[in-house]
C-alpha cells in the first residue's frame, strides 16, 4: 500500500523487467501449481502469492534461469503451505525448500521455464498413468471416469452399472488405495 519505502527492494533493478519476467513465467508457474492443487481458484491464488512475493523480494538483475528457479521454489513452498492446511498437522513428505540464491541447482541457468513446465506436465501425466495401472481394475475405472473424463457421480455410476452410493464409496476407497500407492512411490 502507500508507505512502503521501508520494504526490501532492489532500487537499482531495471523497472519493467518485472513485466518481462511475469509474461515469460506466469503461464508455466500457473500450470506447475495447477498440476498440484487441481483446481482453478487455488491455482490462481497461489500464483498470485508467488508473483506478489517476487515484486517484493526477487532480484531482477539475476539471469533468467536463476529467476525461474527462484520462482519455482517459491511456488513449491506455497503449495506445501497450502497442503499443510489440509493436514492440520506438521507435514511429512512435502519439504519446505529454502528460498534464497545459495542452493541454486548448477544446471539452473540452462533450464528455461517452459522446458521445466513441459517436463513437469509429462511427469505428472506419466505418474497418473502409472498409478492407475497399479490399481485394481474397478478402482482405476472409477478414477478414470471421475477425474480424467470428468463425469459426475451419477454418470460414473451409470457407466459402471452401480448405484450412486456405491460409486461414491468405490471412489473413496480407490483414492485411499491410490494415496497409499503414491506414498510408497516416494
Amino acid at each position: 500500500m502507500a508507505n512502503s519505502v521501508d520494504r526490501p527492494h532492489n532500487a537499482t533493478a531495471p523497472r519493467g523487467r518485472f513485466e518481462e519476467i511475469y509474461d515469460a513465467q506466469v503461464v508455466p508457474i500457473y500450470r506447475f501449481i495447477y498440476a498440484r492443487v487441481g483446481n482453478r481458484p487455488d491455482a490462481e491464488d497461489l500464483t498470485a502469492q508467488v508473483f506478489m512475493r517476487a515484486v517484493e523480494q526477487l532480484d531482477t538483475s539475476r539471469e533468467e534461469g536463476q529467476i525461474a528457479s527462484w520462482l519455482y521454489r517459491v511456488a513449491q513452498n506455497a503449495i506445501a503451505d497450502y497442503w499443510r492446511a489440509f493436514y492440520r498437522l506438521p507435514l511429512v513428505g512435502t519439504e519446505q525448500v529454502a528460498v534464497g540464491w545459495e542452493p541454486m541447482a548448477p544446471s539452473a541457468s540452462g533450464e528455461s521455464a517452459p522446458t521445466q513446465s513441459e517436463a513437469d506436465a509429462d511427469r505428472s501425466h506419466a505418474r497418473v498413468q502409472h498409478l492407475l495401472h497399479r490399481l485394481p481394475e474397478h478402482y482405476a475405472r472409477v478414477l478414470e471416469l471421475r477425474f480424467l473424463q470428468r463425469l459426475s457421480v451419477a454418470e460414473t455410476a451409470e457407466r459402471m452399472g452401480i448405484t450412486r452410493g456405491n460409486a461414491k464409496v468405490l471412489q473413496y476407497r480407490a483414492l485411499r488405495k491410490a494415496a497409499l500407492l503414491g506414498e510408497t512411490d516416494g
Binding site: M1, V5, V27, Y34, E44, F86, F147, V153, G165, A179
Partner: protein, 267 residues
C-alpha cells in the same frame, strides 16, 4: 445401501471432490485426517494431470495490475500534485462522512429513492447537529502520516445508499461506499493475503474471491467466527470464515462540490 460407519466419511469427502471437480474451491474442512489429506492430494493431482489449462486471461491481467501497483508503491515514483490540501479540524473520530441535508439536496441524492432518502434523513438527523460545511475526517489508519493530498475518486451522486464505486489512486485501490447515508472509503485489498475484494450489492459487503472473507461496509470482517456466533451465520455461507482478520484500511474521505475525495498518502 446399508449404513456403514464409512458412509459419513464418504459423503463428507464427496463435498471436497465436488468442489475440486466442479471448478470451485475445495475446503480443508471436508478433509478429516492425515489419511484423507493424502487422498485429497492424490485427487488434486489426478484432477491437475488432465492437461493443466492456461490461466484465465482476466486473471493474468488483474495480477499484472496488482504487481505493477505494488511495484510502483515500492519504487515511490508517483507523486501527483496536491489538490487543495486543506485540513479541517474536527472532533469526530471516525473516517466517515456525514452528509448534511443541504449537501444531499444539492446532489439530488435525497430524491434518488424514497426508501433510501428516508434512511439518509434518519442518519443525518440522528447525529443531532450538522457538522460544519464540507468537512470530513479522520481516523488513525496510518495512511495520513506525513505528506498527502486529496484525490477525487467519485461523484457523490453516483454513490446512492447501498451503492459502491470503485476507485484507484497511485497509492491504493478501494471502494467508496454509501452505508445508509454515510460515505466511507474502504481499501479493496483483503487483509488476509492481499487479494482484490469485490463489492456485492445484494449482500452489502466486500467479498474476497480467494478464500471467501466478507467485509461489511464499515470494513470489519462480516463472516468471521465471532460475528457468526453472535448472528447465527452469514447469508449464503455454509460456514464461518475461519481466520480473524484485521479490518480494511479506511482512508479519510471528504465531500466537496458534489465530489468524494480520499486522502492519499504521498508515497
Amino acid at each position: 445401501m446399508a449404513e456403514r460407519p464409512e458412509d459419513a466419511a464418504v459423503e463428507r469427502f464427496e463435498r471436497y471432490l465436488d468442489a475440486l471437480l466442479g471448478g470451485g474451491r475445495p475446503s480443508p474442512e471436508d478433509v478429516a485426517d492425515a489419511n484423507e489429506a493424502e487422498m485429497a492430494r492424490t485427487a488434486a493431482e489426478l484432477s491437475g494431470a488432465v492437461g493443466a489449462p492456461d490461466p484465465d486471461p482476466a486473471f493474468v491481467e488483474q495480477l499484472r495490475l496488482r504487481m505493477r501497483q505494488a511495484d510502483q508503491g515500492i519504487a515511490s515514483v508517483q507523486v501527483p500534485p496536491p489538490t487543495r490540501p486543506r485540513l479541517v479540524e474536527s472532533d469526530t473520530s471516525s473516517s466517515r462522512v456525514r452528509l448534511t441535508r443541504r449537501q444531499l439536496l444539492q446532489t439530488g441524492l435525497v430524491g434518488a429513492a424514497g426508501l433510501a432518502a428516508g434512511v439518509v434523513g434518519a442518519s443525518v438527523l440522528g447525529t443531532g447537529r450538522a457538522l460544519p460545511g464540507d468537512l470530513i475526517w479522520d481516523d488513525g489508519s496510518g495512511l495520513i502520516a506525513g505528506q498527502g493530498f486529496w484525490s477525487p475518486v467519485a461523484m457523490v451522486a453516483d454513490v446512492a445508499p447501498g451503492a459502491a464505486v470503485r476507485f484507484s489512486t497511485a497509492a491504493f485501490d478501494g471502494y467508496v461506499v454509501n452505508d445508509g447515508g454515510e460515505i466511507r472509503a474502504l481499501s479493496s485489498v483483503c487483509t488476509h493475503m492481499g487479494c482484490t475484494l469485490h463489492f456485492r450489492s445484494d449482500w452489502q459487503d466486500l467479498r474476497c474471491p480467494c478464500h471467501g472473507a466478507s467485509f461489511d461496509l464499515k470494513g470489519e470482517l462480516a463472516n468471521g467466527r465471532d460475528r457468526w456466533r453472535q448472528t447465527g451465520g452469514y447469508r449464503g455461507d455454509a460456514k464461518a470464515y475461519p481466520v480473524a482478520l484485521p479490518p480494511l484500511v479506511r482512508p479519510k474521505v471528504k465531500v466537496e462540490d458534489g465530489q468524494v475525495f480520499v486522502w492519499t498518502a504521498q508515497v
